[in-house]
């Protein structure tokens, strides 16, 4: 009494056991009596099931033929209409579905209705004996004993050291797998050219420059740097870093911090379109609330507070592109972004410290 942990139902200390001491031994009920199917007794039912299976396989054949006919008979050229493409897509799909389903359901129906279905019970294997277990332990003990690893710590320690050091060369080699990005993430095409020429803001996708007068209040321009379309290689990589959203607000609604006073022009502001969370294009602009919304994870940026994050998982404001107007009235970027655009990466903190304008 009182020992609750032995798990024996006959010696529970807390449950009244009067009259329950005689536990009935569980009888193995064995396999239930075999029940014959219709197809086992009635030859006509068996014949019918056979025909059903054949029909299912036949459906599969028809499906394959539908696929082949629609693939070869419907000729898709450059001038095919959407309706033709849709018809072919539908027939290819239906054909494949029937071809696969016909075989699968046919085999299952065959097995269920016609193949022998007598029940078989498989006996358990004998559990391994204690002697076998002891023998295995002895083998391991012998190995440890004969290597003498316990008696020779010098060998043991040098072996451990060698094994621990061996993978290190692999680490060095993996470092060479690809080009290191180095400062590529810290700079964009917006930096002034080598001759000090400031980059103009151009329309995406046609690349024509934008005049300040073109940007009326409430407008949103999707902007790429001047010269992006003329790049012969790496155009997409450059575009991915340098896309900008250009908007014009009532200047009274902007609240620039002192060091950003001259980054806007008459209420026209330019912000990186790359979300600081995972880099989706933040291009949903609500012109009345002045909120920018990222479509991927709903990060929301407030344009009137220098694109501060007001909702969602982004952790930093969108980087602002300082802009001005050149002598011909076109909008230009006075420098590159003052911080790397887009999501965080390992070296980002060091790159912020590098003046990249």
């Amino acid at each position: 009494m009182g020992n609750h942990s032995d798990g024996s139902p006959n010696h529970s200390g807390t449950v009244a056991t009067a009259g329950q001491n005689e536990v009935e031994k569980f009888q193995d009920p064995g396999i239930p009596p075999h029940r014959l199917r219709l197809a086992d007794t009635d030859p006509r039912a068996a014949k019918k099931a056979e025909r059903q299976v054949a029909l299912l396989f036949g459906i599969s054949v028809v499906g394959t033929l539908i696929f082949l006919v629609s693939y070869f008979a419907i000729d898709l050229g450059n001038d095919s209409s959407i309706a033709t493409i849709r018809l072919q897509n539908a027939l290819l799909g239906i054909g494949t579905a029937f071809a696969m389903l016909g075989i699968g359901t046919g085999i299952v129906h065959w097995a269920k209705a016609l193949m022998p279905d007598h029940e078989v019970s498989e006996e358990r294997h004998a559990i391994r004996t204690e002697e076998d277990r002891q023998a295995a332990v002895r083998i391991v003990d012998d190995i440890v004993e004969e290597t003498g690893i316990k008696r020779r710590p010098l060998i043991r320690n040098t072996l451990l050291g060698a094994v621990a050091l061996a993978p290190l060369p692999a680490l060095a080699i993996f470092g060479d797998l690809g080009p290191r990005p180095d400062f590529a993430l810290a700079h964009t095409m917006w930096a002034p050219g080598p001759d000090g020429k400031l980059k103009r803001l151009a329309r995406d996708p046609d690349g024509t420059p934008i005049k300040a007068a073109d940007v009326t209040i409430g407008s949103a321009f999707h902007v790429i740097p001047e010269g992006l379309n003329e790049l012969s290689e790496g155009k997409l990589n450059e575009k991915a870093k340098s896309v900008v959203l250009l908007m014009r607000l009532d200047p009274a609604e902007l609240h620039p911090s002192p060091e950003r006073i001259d980054w806007a022009y008459n209420g026209i502001v330019a912000y990186s379109k790359i979300c600081t969370h995972v880099g989706c294009p933040v291009a949903l602009y609500e012109q009345q609330t002045h909120h920018l919304l990222c479509p991927c994870h709903q990060s929301t940026f407030d344009l009137t507070q220098q694109c501060k994050v007001i909702f969602g998982p982004a952790s930093r404001p969108l980087p602002q592109l300082p802009i001005a107007v050149d002598s011909e009235g076109y909008l230009v970027a006075t420098s590159d972004f003052h911080e790397p655009v887009g999501p965080s990466y390992w070296e980002r903190e060091q790159h912020v410290l590098i003046p990249n304008s």
Binding site: R35, R37, I82, P205, T216, G218, M247, P281, L284, T289
Partner: protein, 261 residues
């Protein structure tokens, strides 16, 4: 031609050439600016304006103020132009049924003549974007170019298949299927509610025509892949697969384990 070429060494030839050049440049510039202003040119009669003024006073002035100068409940309409009126009233967004995240489309409250009179009145207050000409909304532009412009400027809110999408706090960008080319054009030039303005310097009238062409084309073509489930992407497709697809799998497992009679 021979007479001209003989006189080209005449002492006054240079002056004549200069004059001709100036005339041509000036003329072209004048034509170009009138093309830009042609849309502000109204074909409204004085009676349209007068009737519109009465309609405005009776139906709109409560919120938008006497003389459309705005009040605490509604913005000033001076300078919004006829296009804004035609869009807002023509799609039933105005008069607004109730306050909400945004004015929603509903059956138009005014007939075409009344909408035109209202537009005439608002356009008479100050110049603003006019109702587009038939030539830019005919849907016969370059659909491929329109698609490129649409994906750059519109698809982030209106969805790549123009099926619409959610914004913040109950606001949404509506689906564009079934919207007339004229209303799409007017929405681009006026930027209704939270939609940004896409003026002619941003997307040229030709580009807007291409966008409308593209939208009409994808609408009439339908989905090339069969049922598009609202073209809403993983939400509707996932719902369908989880319910219908899992349902089929469950049905098959029940059939697999059942006994045949």
């Amino acid at each position: 031609m021979k007479a001209i070429s003989q006189k080209r060494r005449h002492p006054l030839a240079a002056i004549a050439l200069l004059l001709m050049g100036l005339l041509v440049t000036g003329g072209l510039y004048a034509v170009a600016t009138t093309v830009n202003q042609a849309k502000a040119d109204t074909t409204y009669s004085a009676s349209d304006v007068a009737e519109g003024g009465k309609l405005f006073a009776a139906n709109c002035a409560t919120c938008h103020g006497v003389g459309a100068s705005g009040s605490q409940s509604g913005p000033s309409l001076v300078g919004v132009g006829a296009a804004a009126v035609d869009f807002q009233v023509g799609t039933g967004r105005m008069p607004m049924q109730m306050n909400g995240p945004q004015a929603e489309k509903k059956p138009a409250q005014f007939n075409e003549a009344q909408t035109k009179q209202l537009a005439a009145y608002v356009a008479s207050l100050a110049p603003g974007p006019a109702i587009p000409e038939a030539s830019v909304i005919d849907g016969k532009g370059d659909a491929a170019k329109g698609g490129e412009l649409f994906r750059t400027n519109c698809a982030m809110c209106h969805n790549a298949a123009a099926a619409g999408g959610a914004l913040t706090r109950g606001k949404f960008a509506p689906a564009l299927a079934g919207v007339s080319g004229q209303h799409i054009y007017e929405a681009m030039v006026t930027g209704p509610q939270n939609m940004p303005v896409f003026n002619d310097a941003n997307i040229s009238p030709e580009g807007k025509r291409d966008i409308i062409t593209y939208l009409k084309q994808i609408e009439s073509n339908g989905s090339p892949g069969g049922a598009d489930l609202g073209a809403l992407g993983p939400v509707s497709e996932g719902l369908f697969v989880w319910i219908a697809g899992l349902g089929v799998i469950i049905a098959f497992t029940i059939w697999l384990t059942s006994r045949t009679s």
